[in-house]
């Protein structure tokens, strides 16, 4: 029934909790995150290392390995609940309806098999096609993702390709079954800027050509500004702010997001001191009481150290987890 609801988001993550049960204690890497990804959109998830953005993404396909575990919340893809679903059902979705590309194209490809074989495997895992047909589709896909001499590259091993080509192969693999959702986990971080520009361009093109939604995980606000339609900002396992791309940059609300934006060296001639957020990311094992950003926040008020703020609506699909916006207001 829910499948019929036309306006349903493609992916709806509600109050997701993914914790890691280490011998030192429980690490709440993702601590109640809600993300919605509409069809045909590029949604960015930004944050610094350890904020839980990748864990969130991996939770969607349940690629969390021990000692991590999804302990609560719901992930609905096209109205189907994925949390608690049968592993075979998840498997039928992986690489088929939802696929992933990773940060390191070198280590993400198996060094002992040809790239062609690895990509065609993604097809044959989900569709009953002949080897030859799978092969043809891989070659077509290679062409689509801009791999020159696709026929020849089919037989190449990962180490014979450059970083950029490898990432194209990864994207080709992800797109092989024409998924509805592509999760891109820091897809350009390991690449040089000129290659990064190529890959970002390719992703936008794919979104355009195939109508694939993209969940883009990154720490680079430049990349976000370049390609995303809507952005979630994460900090220490929680969403701090979410807004449309222009809203986020033009009306930055959360002190953390502001801090992040101000930390980036600006393209101005003056050599002023850079703004920096004091302190560092908290240890998830010992989260501060109240707002988890409060110890680093210059606007922190006594209540910030006591209570955890919720996401408050700042209008125009702009939500902020900060008491400053409790009543729709903003910082002075």
């Amino acid at each position: 029934m829910s499948e019929l609801q036309k306006n349903e988001e493609l992916l709806k993550i509600t109050d997701l909790k993914t914790h890691f049960f280490t011998h030192k204690g429980v690490v709440p890497a993702v601590d109640g995150v809600s993300i919605e990804i509409p069809r045909r959109q590029i949604v960015g998830v930004v944050g610094e290392s350890g904020c839980g953005k990748s864990v969130t993404a991996m939770s969607v396909l349940q690629l969390i390995s021990r000692p991590g575990k999804i302990v609560g919340g719901s992930i609905r893809l096209d109205g189907r609940e994925l949390v608690g679903a049968d592993i075979n059902e998840i498997r039928s979705i992986r690489g088929n309806k939802v696929s992933v590309i990773f940060q390191e194209p070198m280590t993400s490809l198996n060094p002992v098999y040809t790239v062609g074989r690895q990509v065609s495997e993604a097809i044959t895992a989900h569709q009953a096609v002949s080897q030859e047909e799978a092969r043809q589709r891989v070659v077509d896909m290679f062409k689509a993702v801009g791999i020159p001499e696709a026929e020849k590259r089919y037989k190449s091993y990962p180490h014979q390709l450059s970083g950029g080509l490898r990432q194209r192969v990864m994207i080709g693999m992800a797109m092989a079954c024409q998924p509805q959702l592509l999760i891109a986990d820091e897809p350009t971080t390991a690449l040089d800027v000129t290659i990064e520009a190529q890959i970002l361009h390719l992703m936008k093109q794919l979104e355009h050509d195939f109508g694939t939604s993209i969940m883009l995980i990154t720490h680079n606000l430049g990349v976000v500004a370049e390609v995303c339609d809507y952005v979630y900002v994460m900090y220490a396992g929680k969403i701090m702010e979410q807004a449309g791309i222009f809203d986020l940059f033009d009306h930055t609300a959360h002190p953390y997001t502001k801090g992040l934006l101000n930390s980036i060296p600006k393209p101005t001639a003056e050599k002023r001191r850079l703004y920096n957020i004091k302190g560092m990311v908290p240890n998830l094992l010992r989260l501060p009481k109240g707002c988890r950003f409060s110890p680093r926040c210059e606007y922190a008020r006594p209540e910030c150290f006591e209570h955890e703020p919720e996401l408050y609506d700042a209008g125009n699909q702009h939500l902020v987890r900060c008491f400053l916006y409790k009543n729709g207001g903003g910082p002075a």
């Binding site: 690629l63 690489g95 390191e104 002992v112 040809t114 895992a125 091993y157 693999m173």
Partner: protein
């Protein structure tokens, strides 16, 4: 490829010469005169001297060494003092039996070690893991001769299923290969396990899972081949340890192989025979290394010859 093999063979020559030298040196500083052992008790000293001279035993050490080397290159390892036969003949007679035993044992080691390693890795830190590792490590932890004797006692003496000794039939080969193979299965299981665990942490495993592959396909199709690469090189090291173990296995199971030759040669101070045997086994080990390297290069596309 051919050039590479040639290069490797050339590189191993100095190593071989070194081996010959070490053995030659060690055996020449030991007490006990082989000549008096060979000759009758009533031979006059001057005849013994004449014999020594004829055998070149009076030459300076280094001259003897080079003479030996010269002959060895032509395939002449001299005559066994004790057995009065050509050393090369003795070695070639014994070698096939050792090779057969070693290959069988290697097979057993792999049949026990690899599945045990895989299962232990997949079920890491469970009872299954501990059980399989214990089983395969037990082979390493028992003196070969003791394990052999117990097996003989149970399967040949008590149950009568298998012959106590022998090497001509497959039934006879079961126990020796089991004893010897088991003794190196632990190493293989351990290596397979740790490699597999290591490989399973790799990003490409996550990629494979993300493709929607079944866990079995991920392990066997993606992890195993990578994990097997170092295990293949292990073969080389195994040649050495299997040959060592064969010394005892052959004694217990009455297999007329190189190990027996070496043991009796040492006991008899039969220098030419001992030298020949050790040099030959060394060549086997070097060849094993070479084969392992070649295998590695065949299996691993990253270092494959283009």
């Amino acid at each position: 490829m051919a050039r590479y093999i040639l290069k490797r063979v050339l590189i191993s020559i100095p190593v071989l010469i070194g081996v010959v030298f070490v053995i030659f040196f060690m055996l020449n500083v030991v007490p006990g005169d082989p000549v008096t052992l060979m000759m009758g008790e009533h031979i006059k000293p001057d005849l013994i001297e004449a014999f020594r001279e004829r055998m070149g035993l009076d030459d300076p050490f280094i001259v003897q060494f080079f003479n030996y080397l010269k002959n060895a290159v032509q395939g002449d390892f001299g005559m066994s003092y004790k057995l009065n036969r050509e050393v090369s003949g003795l070695i070639f007679q014994a070698f096939p039996h050792t090779l057969k035993l070693t290959l069988w044992a290697a097979l057993v080691a792999w049949i026990i070690g690899i599945p045990a390693g895989i299962l232990s890795a997949v079920k890491q830190n469970t009872l299954v893991d501990r059980g399989f590792m214990t089983f395969s490590l037990m082979g390493v932890s028992m003196p070969v001769f003791w394990a052999g004797l117990l097996l003989q006692y149970v399967f040949a003496y008590k149950l009568g299923w298998l012959p106590v000794t022998g090497y001509k039939t497959w039934q006879a080969m079961i126990m020796p290969s089991l004893v010897l193979g088991w003794s190196s299965a632990g190493t293989i299981a351990r290596l397979t396990r740790s490699n597999l665990l290591e490989i399973m942490k790799n990003d490409f495993i996550r990629t494979a899972r993300a493709k929607g592959l079944k866990e079995g396909t991920v392990v066997v199709g993606h992890a195993l081949k990578n994990a097997m690469l170092p295990v293949v090189t292990m073969m080389a090291i195994q040649v050495s340890s299997l040959l060592g173990g064969a010394v005892m296995t052959e004694s217990i199971f009455g297999i007329p192989g190189l190990g027996r030759v070496a043991v009796s040669a040492i006991g008899d101070r039969d220098m030419p025979l001992l030298q020949g045997t050790i040099i030959f086994t060394t060549m086997l080990i070097i060849a094993g290394n070479l084969i392992a390297d070649l295998l590695y290069s065949v299996l691993d596309p990253r270092i494959r010859v283009e």
